[in-house]
Symmetry: C3
Amino acid sequence: MKTKPYTDLFARVREKRPLVHHITNYVTVNDCANITLCAGGAPVMADAPEEAAEMAAIASSLVLNIGTLSAAQIESMILAGRMANERGIPVILDPVGAGATRFRTDTTKRLLHELEITLLKGNAGEIGVIAGVEATVRGVDSFGLSGDPLTIARGLATTLGITVAVSGATDIVTDGKHTLLVENGHSLMGSISGTGCMAASVTGVFCAESKEPVTAAAAALAAFGLAGEKAAAVSHGPFSFKTALFDELKNLTLQDLAAGARIRTP
Amino acid sequence: MKTKPYTDLFARVREKRPLVHHITNYVTVNDCANITLCAGGAPVMADAPEEAAEMAAIASSLVLNIGTLSAAQIESMILAGRMANERGIPVILDPVGAGATRFRTDTTKRLLHELEITLLKGNAGEIGVIAGVEATVRGVDSFGLSGDPLTIARGLATTLGITVAVSGATDIVTDGKHTLLVENGHSLMGSISGTGCMAASVTGVFCAESKEPVTAAAAALAAFGLAGEKAAAVSHGPFSFKTALFDELKNLTLQDLAAGARIRTP
Amino acid sequence: MKTKPYTDLFARVREKRPLVHHITNYVTVNDCANITLCAGGAPVMADAPEEAAEMAAIASSLVLNIGTLSAAQIESMILAGRMANERGIPVILDPVGAGATRFRTDTTKRLLHELEITLLKGNAGEIGVIAGVEATVRGVDSFGLSGDPLTIARGLATTLGITVAVSGATDIVTDGKHTLLVENGHSLMGSISGTGCMAASVTGVFCAESKEPVTAAAAALAAFGLAGEKAAAVSHGPFSFKTALFDELKNLTLQDLAAGARIRTP
C-alpha cells in the first residue's frame, strides 16, 4: 500500500484547518464538533434557515446528518446544500436511520435528488435501503442487507454518480470505478453512541482538502479507525474509550497514519 | 433479599438489547443514549411529529423526558405515546422541572391524562407537585415536599393506576400495593447534570423486558446506583466520575448486581 | 493584587448555589450545565417561549448564547431577558459567531438594543464586529480585529453602558472606566469545543452573586482559567483535558484562587 496520498492529505488538513459546516442531530453534535477539531478541522454548526446558506458560503465542506431530523432542518439542508454545490465544496450526507422511518428514507432520497452529494456514508442497512435492496434498520442500527455490500455500494455509486462509503468491520469506499477497503477500527467503537456521526465529520474534514473523495474518505476512515485501535488499548469501558478516541486522533501523527493505515483494493 | 428476579431481568436485557425510543431534552440526550447502550439497550432519539409514532412502532419501550420541552415535542410525545399504548410497550415519563413552570406542570398532567404511563419517575419535588402536595422545585432541582414521600408516592400511584419512582438517597418504587426501596447510589451522582435523566433511560431499558414495572424499575435503579458506587471509588471529580459511571455500568456483571443490589421492602 | 474580593465572591457563590437560567446552543449545552455545577451554581435550560420568562423569574442570572440560534429562541431570549431586567438580575450575552452571518450579527445588535445586557462576552473578532471595527469571524472562531482590543472594548463598553469581556490569551474585562486583565488559562482550552460558552456560564454563576460585573467576570475567568492550567498538567489530549477541566474547577479551593489568580490592571 502506498500511504503517501493519505499522509499528504492529512498534512494538508492539519495545515489548512478547513471550516466544516454541520447540519446535524442534537444527540452527537458535541462529539462531531470535537472530533472535527481533533481531526484538524474547525467545526461550525448552524441549522437555522436564516443563516444556513450564508454559513455554507464560508465553509470548506458541508456535513448533513439526519439523526434527529425536523422539517426546518430539511429546509436548511437544501439551502446550505445548494450554496455548497454552487461553490463546489464537498457535501457529505449521513443518512442516519434511513429505513427505520419513512421520514428518514424519503428525506434521504430527496436530498440525493435535489443536491449534488459528494459522499454518502452510512451503515450497511442504510445503504441497502437507499439502494433499494432488502435491508433492515432498527432505530439507527444496521441489521444487514441481502446481497454483497460491495456490489451494492458500487451499483449505488454508479447509479447516483457519487462516492459511497459503507461502514462496517471493513469499511467500503467506492465511486463505482475505484474502490478502497479500510480495515482500521475496533469493536469498542460500537459501544458508544455517535461513532458513525463522528466518522462522517472526519470525512468532511478530509474531503474539504481533496478533489478525490474516494481517497479522502478512505484516509479519514483509516485515521479515525486507527485512533480507535489506539484508544481501545488504554480504555476500561465505553466512556474511557471515548475519551481516548478523541485524544488519540488529536495526537495521531503522519508517521502513525503511514505505519498503521490498512487501506487496500478489493 | 432475593436477587434472582433482578439478575434474571438483567440477563434478559443484555441478551435482547431492547430498542428504547427517547423523546428527550437536548441537554443530556447524549448521556441518555450512551447510558442506554451501557445498560444493555439500543437507544434511538426521534422527536419530529413526522416520525415519532413510526419510531415508537418498532421500539420496545418509550422514554418521555420534558427537560427542554417545546410545543412540537409535546405533539410528538402524544403521537409516540399513543402508538406505544396501542402496542402495549412501556412508557416512562420523567417530568423534569415539573413545578418550576406552569408549562412543565401542565404538560406533565396532560401526558398523564392522555397517555397510559407505565412509570412516572421524578425527584421528590416533582412528584410532590404532581401529587398536589406542597413541594418546591427550583429549576430542575427538588427542594423537597411537605409530608412523607413514601405515602405520597403510594397515593399518587394508586390514584393514577401507575408505578411511581421517587429518586433520592433512598429511591422509592411503588404501584401503591407493592413497594420497593433502593439504597444504591452515591452523592457524586448529584454533582453532574443528567443522572436523573440517565436513571429514567435505564428504567426504560429494564421495563422493556419485564411485565412488572416495580421490579424492573428497582432493578434498573439498583444497577445504575451500583455503577455510581463503583465509579465514585475511582474518580477525582465530577467528570472523571461521569466517565467511570458509564464504564462501570457497562462492565457490571450479574454477580455484581446480585452481590451489591440493596433493594428492600419498607 | 488583592485577591479578597475574588475569593469572597467565590465563597458566596459556593454557599448560595445560584440558579443560572440558560438559553443556549445545543452543541455545548451539556458542558454549560456541568461547568455551572462545577463552578458552584445550579443550571437550568429552558428555551420555549411558553416558559422562558417564568424560568427567568426564579433564576439569579440569565445567560444568552446564540451558538445555534433560531427564530423561536430569539423570542424566548427577549421574553426571558425582559423578565431578568424587570427583576434586576444580571444578563450575560455570548454572541457566538457574530460577524459570521448577518442573522447572528443582527440578533446580537437587537438583543443589545432591546435588553439591558450586564455583560457582553465574546472573542476579539465578535467584539470587533459589534464595535463596528474591521474584524474577521470564521464560523465561531476569531481571526482578529484591526486595532487595539483593549481600546475597542473600552469604547464599546462606554457606548453601550455595559461591561464587556474579550476572551484571549489575556482576557479583558472592562466597563469603560474600570478594567481588569486576566492572564489565567491554557492553550489547550482552544483544543476543545465550548470553552468560550463554558466561560460565559461561569461568569453567569459569579455575576449572580455580585453587584460588580467587572470584578465578578474577572474572578470567574480567573477561576476557569486556573482550572484549565491545572487540567493541562494532567491531560494527554483534548478530551482528557476536558475531563480534568471540570474536575479541577469543582475541586478548586479559595486558597487555589487566592494563590493562582493572575488579575491585574492594564
